[in-house]
Amino acid sequence: MSDLSVHIGKLILKNPIMPASGTFGAELTPLLDINRLGALVPKSVTVSARDGNPVPRVCETSGSMINSIGIQSKGIDDYVTHQLPAYRKFSPPLIASISGETIDEFETLAARLDAQPDVAALELNISCPNLRANGQAFGMSAEATAQLVRTVRAITDKTVIVKLTPNVTRIQDIAQAAEHAGADALTVANTFLAMAIDSETRKPRIGNIMGGLSGAAVKPLVVRLIYQVHQATRLPIIGSGGVMNGQDAIEMILAGASAVQVGTATFLQPNAMTTIIDDIDDYLNRHQIEHLTDLIGQVDLS
């Protein structure tokens, strides 16, 4: 047994594996040993209840999927009164993903959740491609990112994680803006803006026309983004995008990630995350590495 623990801001996770927001919920209980996870990340919450986007909301593409759920949320009140308590029975720290259409909304959410002892950290979803037209998001502008992060930082001492969008020219600039504005960690990255058309019906295969691409196909893009962000900032990075097995997780850690989120893989194998934790443990034993932290960013460029 190697030491799999990692630091993300003020949190110490017992291992680097956690769910990606939007792909996880307490409904997994019969299929997954949730207490083995490094952290819990429920679906992004918004201030008011939202219905989400038109159906179909998911489609399958080659080695990947597109989703346009559009943050279906019952709003922050329901989150605090019903959802947080449902996770109380689990031991891993809970990272609350929050999403808004304005900086004020992020501020409101952060203030509410700062007061919740059940919330260990906040993940700011500034990168959802499914909220505004053409996949626009806060995370596409360094200034908007900085302003948003500064606002949230002023409100809470909890660990603040900023989830970046991959749909930018230079992710390094956004990462640095978040770092200077006071972020404790970065999630790299949200989904890639994508589209698929059924050639027979000629209709988009997603009701909302475009959606976010996730799954195995995006991993080489995400590994590159992690590597770029790791070179540009000193913040711990949570890799997200295309991790299907332990090897994929190790690849992201070598590129610079301290922890790794798993989303799409859970749809296929609800217990993918615990399998990945076992894979990582095997890898460390096989390579006689005592601490997982010794691998972070250790891609061999010689």
Binding site: G22, T23, F24, G25, E27, L28, P30, L31, K43, D51, G52, V55, P56, R57, V58, C59, E60, S62, G63, S64, M65, N67, I69, Q72, G215, A216, M244, T264, A265, T266, F267, L268, Q269, P270, N271
Partner: protein, 260 residues
Amino acid sequence: MKLFNAKIIANHPINARYWHMILDASMLDEHVAPGQFFHLQCGDAQQNPLRRPLSVFHYHQASATLEFLYLVKGSGTQQMTQRRPGDYMNLIGPLGRGFTLPEQGALLLIARGVGVATLHALAREARAQNKAVHVLLSARTANDLLTATALAEIGANVYTVTDQEGTSNLEQVRPRLEQLIHAEKIGALYSCGSRRLSKLAQDLAEKYHLKGELATEAHMACGIGDCYACACTIRSHGQLKTARVCSDGPVFPIEQVVIQ
């Protein structure tokens, strides 16, 4: 609900477009209700990241067999046809809310195409409880009228209509159903597989004040209620709200379903 591997006992085509798969479900230790479904891994993990939902066609607890009737549509179901007896299928289930039987009266099932796969299990359950079952089967061609014989064998009364014969249009189907409702002491209506027929069933249920249930479909990711991929709109206590087909459904009271 359980994640498990089930050995394939049989897997063969029943006509040009439909296949029938029988699994050894001895791993299953739960009741399986008609209208519930399983979420199947059909293909290679990397290539097909999404599972496919299939209704229980038949679950026989004594012999621990679980059967699916499936339409070969795209890459997932195509890959299912490649699986041989002895291979294993990876399943999650049983999932969702199934049908409920009427307290009294006969059942009228209105199925189109592969929709009968879902209603077949209900017919069996009702017959096992000695309830009268009437099934209107609609399909494109006579060849696509699935399981008519099997339904007749268990004692259901089967009426078939097809596009080919020109008997499947609403103008002809509606009076036939109304006649059945009048003549056969129908206690509840059930429909699956066609928006048009579901709408008709909804009308008739309202008109004749009958209990009714619809089995709905939606593209799914998790299949267990976590991801909201399978959203649908339902009407409940006069209000429209969003429900999840996978966990709030797939079977809904007929008056709740908003048919687009």
